[in-house]
Amino acid sequence: MSNIAFNRLQRECKEVVTNSEISETGIMIEILNENLTEIKGHIRGPPDTPYAGGMFDLDIKIPEQYPFSPPSVKFATKIWHPNVSSQTGVICLDILKDQWAASLTLRTVLLSIQALMCTAEPKDPQDAVVAKQYMDKPQVFKATAEYWTLKFAKGTLPVNADYQARVDKLKDMGVREEEAISVLSCNNWDLNRATVYIFS
């Protein structure tokens, strides 16, 4: 990594760590290795969204050409969101691609992702299945996103008993919980279709 990148990252980390508004904005970073190429980000689920109460981890990788190229950022915590892959956590966000500017920082990137969690862009989806549900069945989307927050992001909302019962049914058939949740979510919680999908 170039000198400029290293010095800048040190400052950026300090900025996020010491910034007093961290407690208010709910973003955090954690340094994983000495040369600052891998960083862990944390975003608290914004209030009044299905992600409220959850804590979401992100993997941040700093490229060789940083800050002239954007960092690669993806969710390490599974999240049900139209602009995030429910399988891999890859994020569809313009500033992480062609709209990157050298003056953007890890802090502004994390704040942008948090804003994306508040306002999804279903017209420019990363996960087409989630986006379709978001547009066609907003109630199901909300309940599913809340269920995922509870299950994967240590959310605090009460569990959706109906969904839990369906997941348990699949688990009784020997399906891993994570797969059961994923397949049920993709099939709008239709147990029959999920079963057919898994066992055919």
Partner: protein, 245 residues
Amino acid sequence: MEKVHFFACFLYESMLGRSATETTENINRASAERGASRKTVQQWFTKFACGDASLEEKKVVEGILKVDHHKTKEMGNCLPSLFGFSRQHDETPMRRSRSSENAMSFTNPAMMQTSSSYVNQLYQHNVIRQRQAEERGKEIDEAKKNRIRGLLDQIPADVFRGDMASTECAICMIDFEPGERIRFLPCMHSFHQECVDEWLLKSFTCPSCLEPVDSTILSSLTAHNMQSLHQITSSSPSTSSSAKH
């Protein structure tokens, strides 16, 4: 996986206009048992690009036809439908005459010849298109860089002095030190010259506000900036000396 599967993939990927590096990645992702080296892919791509690969091409296609169809299927997304590929093109005579044939009918020897010459045709068309696009892309890229290099000299730059308003370079996030060269963009944002020049070669916009550092803005503002710069320079000896002493 046998050699011929790799060839099929190389050809397929090159038809899609992918680069050798992308192809290597795709193949290695899809094939668990044995990967392809970038060098090999590069060699094949060069052969394809020569245009005179019809002999190789034929071997490849006929080779695929002999191998087990299901084996090729294992390649997953790298090779979704090499067999189905040709059937998607409505304008080809093959499509019209044999539209009802399914992919497996490629094992029919009579079909082989049609497909070979068809694939040849399709492939040559692709090579020409690909090469044109590449050249255009290169020309545009090089022209853009040259244009930007020429324009960089037009953007005002100066040595930083303590009395200037801006204090920090938003690219490296380090405070300006007296004596460092800084560049002023038309939007009045300033950066270390070496930091912002590297950025501008990539994207001709201000890293802070994304304002395009466009040539028209530049020509209209350069005069203004030069003037104000001149004013600063002419008034600075007294201010800076008084500040120092």
